[in-house]
Every structure is written in structure tokens, then in C-alpha cells.
Symmetry: D3
């Protein structure tokens, strides 16, 4: 390409001939011009003191942002599985990790002791991708058309759960299991079916009518899960 070659020659001469002081002033002006129209649109670290909007939280002032806003260190510690479900979920959603605000993703750590369970639940606002790093996990979901998809996942396996569909994870192995769940939203939400049914004050009679469950079953589980009504 002849035109490029002649371009090149011109340019190399130009660079060599410019002394540093000559370079520096127009360079600073140039940088200043370029940087003046860069905005914070690269990221929007959440300012949790400001109201939320449908697209996420308002942004912290860019001048106050540091690398710590983009790093989260809570997922290296096993969650406490001494509870009813013998499992723990440690989230890094916007509220815990403001740096993911507006960036379309988030993470959580799942710890399942032997026999542990992440009960049937949905994420209304995001799809989920589970990666098993320790032990084995039986995981599955149910589709809108009542298709059932489940499989035992071992170390290195991943499974995807489409947004909004009922799914679960179980540790049916002989040792604790650990997995990490990615989400396609910084705030995917979490609705655990049994807690939604039995862990609040929605009247038992309503629950029974909308689920076909027996009154005895509903009342019993409300006691277990702290509900009333």
C-alpha cells in the first residue's frame, strides 16, 4: 500500500523530530480533550444511599471509585450450614458488591453439607449457571411445559437454569459440596417456594386453595418455617 508507506515515512520523521517539551504540551491538551468527554458510562458503582431505579442504583461519584469497589472477598469462606437446610448461600449481588451494579452479572457461593439442600426456588430476574468445585450436587429444573431436567454434577461440571424457572440443588454425596452460581443480573432475586408458601402470613386457607395442599400440611410447615395465618 504505497499511500501508507509514504504516510509512515512522514510520521516517523515527525515523531523523531519532536522534542519531548514539544510533545508534552499538545499531548496534555489532547489527553485533556479526550478525557473530558469520557464519562462514567464504563461502570456505575452503586451508591446504596441513593434511591434505586429500574436499571439499578445511581452511581457513586467516579472520583470516589477505587479498585476495592471492583473486588469482593466474601466467597472464600464457607457459609454456615448449621441450619434447617444444611446449606448456605453467600451472595455477591449489588447490595453486597456495589461494583456489579449495571454490569449484568453477579455471583454467589453455595455450601451444601452432606444431605444439604438449596430448596426449590426461582430467580425472577436472572438466569443462573452453577459450577461445582467440590463434592457432587444433584441439580435440576422444571420447565413451563413441565419438562424435568436433573443430573448429578461433579467437580468441574456446570449446569444452566433459565430465568424464572423452578430449580434446586441437593447434596446426596458423602462429603460437603461447594458450588458457585453466576447470574445474568446484578440483582437476580431469590424466591424459595416453601418459604414463600409457609414463611409469611398469607392465610393458610388461601395457600390450600392455590396449591391443593392439605390444611394439616400447611399448618405444620408454617410452624416449621415461621409463618402464621
Amino acid at each position: 500500500m504505497n499511500e501508507i508507506d509514504s504516510c509512515s515515512r512522514r510520521r516517523r520523521e515527525r515523531i523523531r523530530s519532536m522534542k519531548k517539551p514539544t510533545i508534552l504540551l499538545p499531548l496534555l491538551l489532547l489527553l485533556s480533550n479526550i478525557l473530558s468527554f469520557s464519562s462514567a458510562a464504563d461502570f456505575c458503582v452503586a451508591d446504596l444511599t441513593l434511591p434505586e431505579t429500574p436499571s439499578g442504583y445511581s452511581c457513586k461519584k467516579p472520583t470516589t471509585v477505587t479498585v476495592s469497589d471492583f473486588v469482593f472477598s466474601g466467597l472464600g469462606v464457607p457459609g454456615n450450614t448449621s441450619n434447617l437446610i444444611k446449606a448456605a448461600v453467600t451472595p455477591a449481588f449489588t447490595t453486597q458488591f456495589p461494583g456489579v451494579n449495571g454490569l449484568g452479572l453477579s455471583l454467589a457461593r453455595l455450601d451444601l453439607a452432606v444431605g444439604g439442600v438449596i430448596p426449590l426456588h426461582t430467580h425472577p430476574a436472572g438466569s443462573e449457571l452453577v459450577l461445582v468445585v467440590q463434592g457432587s450436587i444433584l441439580a435440576g429444573f422444571i420447565s413451563s411445559s413441565n419438562g424435568v431436567y436433573y443430573k448429578t454434577l461433579n467437580h468441574g461440571d456446570i449446569m444452566v437454569f433459565p430465568q424464572g424457572l423452578l430449580h434446586f440443588q441437593l447434596n446426596c454425596g458423602d462429603s460437603p459440596a461447594v458450588a458457585f452460581a453466576s447470574f445474568s443480573s446484578p440483582t437476580p432475586g431469590l424466591q424459595i417456594t416453601s418459604f414463600a408458601l409457609f414463611g409469611n402470613n398469607l392465610p393458610s386457607s388461601v395457600i390450600e386453595k392455590v396449591t391443593f395442599l392439605d390444611d394439616a400440611e400447611v399448618k405444620k410447615l408454617k410452624k416449621v418455617l415461621g409463618g402464621s395465618g
Copy 2:
């Protein structure tokens, strides 16, 4: 699945053996952990006192949200059709119904007296789906490529109007007509062509040049519709 069976046995024993006090404390901790990372991302009831953003209004504090924020009761009353167009539109957009903020939809009631008309208009920000519940309505739209699509809709019929295209509804029947219009946005907007042409102070000469309409016609309709210039 043998592994599930053994899982099951272990779990049933575990649940039975746990007395309620043993269940309750870890359960509360668990619930607290789970609820602590739920955010208001489920919904974002508009706080109309705060500025709007491109994605909608900022959200009311979740702690102030009640069921009333999700219910709107204004669409059961017929609108007042004693006007130029013998029709009325009763909207439930964000401004009237803050609960739809950020949720991707809204509704309006259309009342058309005999001979009533919803004049030619567009919704810049949403598609529309009209359902006729009383009487009959002649409805139609025009596409970008000048295709014309219209039909008389009777009780139970629905018609969809793609976003941004000119459309209209007419009551050419013998009795009042009522319809409900769904929109694919909580703020679909509404631009009525004749009001936009004749109901403001855009100079007549400009209107004539950009529409080919006669000066006499423009001036006359400006008088009727309250415009000037």
C-alpha cells in the same frame, strides 16, 4: 436413584429429630441471611417526587410499599365522552399508577359514545393491544410502507398496533363502546396527530409546507383545536 433414596432417609430422620426450638433459631438465621440479600429488584414503585431517569422513576422505599401500590381502581368508571371526539381515555400509566414503573406494561380504558372517535395517533414508546368489551369498534393502523389494516372489532376481539405506527378507533355502531388498551410500556406516550398539527403554536405556514394542507384548512382547525400561529 439410590443416592436420592439414602439422601431421603437421612433427611426425614433429621427433620423428625429436630425439635421446634432447635429448628427455629437456625431457621431464623437462615431466613435472615436469605432475606438480607433480597433487594427491591422485584419491583420499583415510582416515587413521583424524585426525578425520572431513562429507565423510569426512582423507586419508593420498599418498606413503604403496600398492596395499594399494585392496585388501581380508576378503570371501572366510564370516562366522560361529552366532548369534541365523544370519547374518553382513562389511563393507568406510571403517573396514575406508580406500581407499573419499570414493569414493562400499562393499561387504559377507552370509552367511545356512538360516533365517538379516538383520533389518529401514535404511541412512540409502546405497542398497543386493544380488547373490546362492549359494542363494536372500527380500528386500524397504517404501516411504514403504507399498508392499511383495519377491521371492525366486536366483543372479545383484540387487535394489536405495533409501536409508533399511526392508528385509530371509531365507534360506528349503535351503542356506546368500551375497550381496554394494554401497552408494552408503563409510559407509552400519546401523540394525537391533529392535536399535534393544530393544537399548539407551530406556525401555520410550517404546517402547510410539511403536510400539503391548505392554509384555510389549517387556520380553521387551529381555531377548533385551540392552536395559534
Copy 3:
């Protein structure tokens, strides 16, 4: 605006001086030019014989589209409520009404006989707006943070259910109820919790582990709802 006035004078003279034949040829060329770059982007009536994509179905050829593609007439007839739930849902989603493909909305009719129920369910892909047109309906939803929102809706009332959250409708009145549900997607999906739990072959032991339900309850409801395992 002097420049506009002189513009106007020139133009009116030009229009008047042009005879129809003089107008017609350049007009046709102009129309042809304009229409040549209009595309089918206004709408995309689903061609259900072609594969679906993440954004919806491929479009029918625009030349084959008629007004019938934008009109759906199935919602005027009450659904058949002689079933277990004494209710019926008559949808106008893409599969039934290809005209809504890609337009961001759809509709369904809900019929609830006395005591009828639309069981607890979610729509993974859309928010819902229910309008009661006859009778009364007790409707409610549960949020991710376990907030419970329910109310009795009467004629003309509307209630919004955010995407992906568990919700239900009940007819606790003395007469049949009818409502129309708008959705913020042409394919919102529908996952009925009890059918998802008990209407397929997901093993009972898994269900019990992930919901805390008793084996007896699970087995019983599997029989009622046609499940197995």
C-alpha cells in the same frame, strides 16, 4: 418568521402551478424511493413453521400479511371451567396470535367459576396486569423478600404482578368472575407450582427434600395431578 413566510409563498405557487400529470410522475418515483427503504421492521408476524430465536419467531413474508394477522377473536367466549380448578385460561400468546411476535405484549382471558382458582404460578418471562370485568377476584403475589400483597379486586380494578413472582387469583364471590390479563411479553410463560411439583415424574424423594413436604402429601397430590415417581 420572515424566512418561513417567503418559503410559504414560493411553495404555494409551486403546488398550484403543478398540474396533476406533472405531480404524478415525480410523486410515484418519490413514493417508490421512500417505500423502497421501508422494511418489515414495523412488525414481525410469526411464521410458526420456522425456528424460534431468542427474540421470537422469524417473520412471515410482509407481502403475505393481512389485517387478520393483527386481530384475534378467541377471547369473547368463556373458557370451560368444568375442571379441577373450576377455572380456565384462554391465551393469546404468539402461538395462538402470531401478530404479537416481537411486539412486547400479549393477553389472556381468565374465567373463574364460583370457588374457581388460578393456582399459584409464575410467568418467568413477563409481568402481568389483571383487569377484572365481571365478579370479584381475590388476587395476590409474594415478593422475593417474602412480602405478601393481596386484595379483592372488583369490576374495573387492576392489579400488577411483577415478572417471575408467585401469584394467584381466587373467586371467593357468589358469581362467576372474568378477568383479562395483559403481559409484558408475547411469550410470558406459565409455571403452575403444584403442577410443576406433582404433575411430572420428578421423584417424590427429591420433591420432599426440596420442599419439606411429607411423602404422603406428595404421593397423594401426584395421584391427583397425574405425576409419577
Copy 4:
């Protein structure tokens, strides 16, 4: 940062010690691995022979894509303004310029002779940004709330027209005007109000009812613009 320094030393030694043949094979494997998971998601040049979808056309095979797919040369030639509106629009939308498919933008050239006009119109699917490069143009739009915004634009001026709103451009100057219009969609659509009203077979009586225009005016303009009915 000591750890980086030691890293650096190790690396420089490694690079220097690797002879080219040693580099080349693992490099090729590496490149092959990396390139194997790159997809065509960078771009999606439209294959106009395949059906459209709500998100745009299906993509040409990446192996058939060349630089010519990303370059369009039609906007340097003035459009033919010998027509009714003394203006021309030369588009580079997907149909003319398949390379913009799925990329969120497109362009068009506007030529306005003295007295020329781009008649009142909307773009249902995109916002517009007009840049004047020659002459002067009176441009304006009307908002949903009937606000009127217009100004004379000179060389180098730009004006933005929000999606879906009625707007126009006029050349009220003494010389031909040229502008370029950017759009926020590869297929913004174009609906010219007067052509939509008078250039098709929508019955005159309907037009009169939905616009308040006189029958005489409607009939006259239908003759001028080639409509019927």
C-alpha cells in the same frame, strides 16, 4: 510491587530463551484454541435472503464476510430533488447496507433544494440526529405533550429528534441544503404523515373522522398523493 518484578524477570528470561520454532507450535495451538471459541457475535451482516426476526436478519456466514460488507458508498451523490417535495432521502439502512444489521445504528442523506421539505414524519423504531453540512435547515419536532421545538440549523449544527415523535425539515434558505441523519436503529422505519393519510386506500370518511379534516381537503390530497377511497 516485588512480586511483579520477580514475575518480570522470569518472563523475560523465558521469552528470550524460546527459539522461534519452540514458540511457533504452542502459539499456533494457542491461537487455534482462542479463535475456536470466538463466534460471529462481533457482528451479523444481514443475509437478506433469509427471514427477518424481531432482532434483525439472520447473519451471513462469517467466512463470506469481507470489508465491503462494512462500507457503503451511496451517500456521496446528491439525491434527486426533482419531485413534489423538492427533496430526497438516500438511506443506508439494513436493506441497503446489510453490515449495520444488529449494530444499533444507520444513516441517511437528506437533500433539500431551495424550498424543499422532508414532510412531517416519524421513525417508529429509532431516534434521529440530523447534522447539517450545507445550507440551512429549519427543523423541529412536536412532543407528546404538544410542546413545539424548532430552530434553524446551520452548517455544523445538529438536532436530535426523539424516537417516534412527529418532526420535519425545511429548506427556507437561498441555496440547496444537505444534511446527514443518524438513527439509533438499523431499521428505524419511516412514516410520512401526509402519505399515510392520503397516499393509500384508507377510506376518506375514516380519515375525516379521525383527523377532523374536510372531505374536500382529503379528496384533493388523495388525488395529489395517489391515494384512493
Copy 5:
């Protein structure tokens, strides 16, 4: 269509029979009703004093918006090319032109003196469409799969650069070149590769490890471009 004809007759009589005072009051009520539910959703002129959100800035109060918010006059003046790259970029992004906030597009002017260069760069948040209006520009981009696409663009040529991909523009001609770049975002961002590598305080050792560049080269360019470390 007989029903339309009878409609028409009724309407024309109605309009004629209404005297202006009769028209005006219900018209004003009607207009008031219609305008009362129009929102600012048409546009959202940025209030730069308020925090940014993931979807853009909060909106100025609609009552304070004038036509000046939609017009920007800075692109008619050549940028100052007396700098290292012999080029200038004059942006009209949200920060300079608040009217584009939330509207999905923006614009910039590119001036390239003879031998000028817009160095290799990306726009993380938008695709770009360059239109050459003066001179000629060698422009190109590199795809994820390492495909190279470049061409000399002359007056009237446009080239599209998909979002996020490395691209550049060079003036290898004999006269100054001017182009205008449209973007598919009001804040597309700008990351110039060499400035990102050499214009900040990222340690040289890190740069060398992640780019394979020689220490001498890195140190030299850090001096030229104002970096350190």
C-alpha cells in the same frame, strides 16, 4: 363500508352544528385530560447535576426544557489538530449535549490533518458509523477472530465499526480530512489503546507481561504519552 358512511354523516352534522364556544370548553377539558397523562417519557434531557444511573442521567424537569436542549452547535468548527496525533475529536455525547441522554445515539466530529491519525481504540458501549465529508481516510477494524477489515474511504463513504472492536482512522491523503462519527449510544466511551497502555501509572513490568512489548519500548512510550511506573 355503509357503517362508516352513516358515521361520517352523523359526524359532519355534529361538527357543523357545534359553535366555537360549545367546542372550546369540552375541548380544553379533553386536551387537559390527554396532556395530563403524557409524561416526559418522550425524552430525558440530562440533568448533569444529578447522579448518573445505569440507563443514563436523571431528567431535567420537563418544564425547563427548550429547543436549545435538542440542538448542539459545536461540530461546525474544525478541531485543533496541532498535537501529537495531528487529529482532533469533537464529541457531542451526553456530557456535551445533554439532549441525547437516553435516546440511544450521539455524534462526534473527526478532523485529521495530513498524516493525522485517530489511534487504535475501542468504544466499549457503542457501535460507530463514520461518514467522510472531506478528503480521504483509511479506516479499519479487527474482529475478535482476528479478521482485518480496512479500506480507504472517500467523500460520501461510510464504514461501520461494531461495538467494542479495535479500530482506527488514518489520513494518508494530501489534504485535511473531516469525518463525522455516529454512535449507537449517547455515551459510547473511548479507550485509546496506546494511551491506556502508556498514559497512566500501570507498572511497566505489568504492561510488558501482558503485551509482550519490550521494556525499552514501554518506557519510551510512557515518556512520550505522559505515563509513569
Copy 6:
């Protein structure tokens, strides 16, 4: 709530009184009705034999989908780090894992031997979240405004990299490092800066002009990385 109580009583009687045969037929009809309007909108497993579209691949027929479509087992095996960069990336993007098509996320495994590096690169189409599971990784990114953010990440730490920005990972520790990278897109793309500069046939003179790099440096790295020109 008295109305609910009476509802409940009626319903329990109804259920008890229904014998299984009575339940089964209307149930099957009901299920059939419900399932008939479920669509494949829950997910869209990619059919890689069909063309791609801007929103992803067309979907496999739902009837051919099994759980294997939602599980990927390639991330448990360390990648081969015997190459120039002493690192490997094992992706699970759409091409490898068709189940993520249209679901908004994907995953990859990163293996970095001692001194290994994932060279400076961008993902044009998605943000990234890196989780370190073994060893330690120095990771960082550069913003559009030339801010530099880097930190050493240890086991359990995560760091987010906004879409489209230059970033890198280095193993400056004493042992192999392993991390998993989530992306906010099923096809985030990958552009490695040095490969894009030196690994193809973009002429050296162009590279030098657009980066300020010396000809010697460019030529040398082209040899190392397999480029030409």
C-alpha cells in the same frame, strides 16, 4: 377473612367429593390446555446448524432437548498451559455449550501456570466476573478515562471487569492458579490486544501509525505471534 373461609370450606368439600376418575379427565384436559400455550420461550438451546441472528442462534426443537443440553462437563480438566503465555482458557460459550444460547451468561476456566498470563484483552459483548479458586492472580483493568484498577486476588476473591474495557490476569505467585470467569453474555467475544496487533496481516506501517510503536518492535512481535505484513 370471612370470604376466604367460606371459599375454603366449599373447596375442601369439592376436592374430597371428587373421585379420582372424576378428577382425571378434566385434569388432563386442563393440563393439555395449559401446556398447549407454553412455548419454548423458557430457553432456546442453540441449533448450531442454523444461522445466527443478532439475538443468538435459532432454537433446537424443544422435543429434542434433554438435560444434557443444560450441562457442560469441560471445565473440570486443567487447560494445557504449555504455550507462549503459560496459560489456557477453556470456554463454555454458546459454541461449546449451546444451552446458554439466549440466556445472558456463560463461563470459562482460566489456568495460569507460574508466570502465566492472560494477555491484555477485552470482551466486546459482555462484562466479566473472575473468581479465584486456586493460587493467586494479579488482575486489573483500565477505564476509558485511563483509571487503573488492579489488585492481587486470592482464593475466594472475585473481581468484576466492565464490558469492553482492557484487562488482564497474571500469575505472579509460586504455584499454578485457577480461576473461573463468568460473563454477562453467552457470546462475550474475546479480543487479545497483542494478537490483534501482531497476529494478523494488518500492515506494520498501519500498526505503527495507530499505536506509536517502533517498526522494529512491531516486526519482531509479528514474527513471534505469527503475523505478517
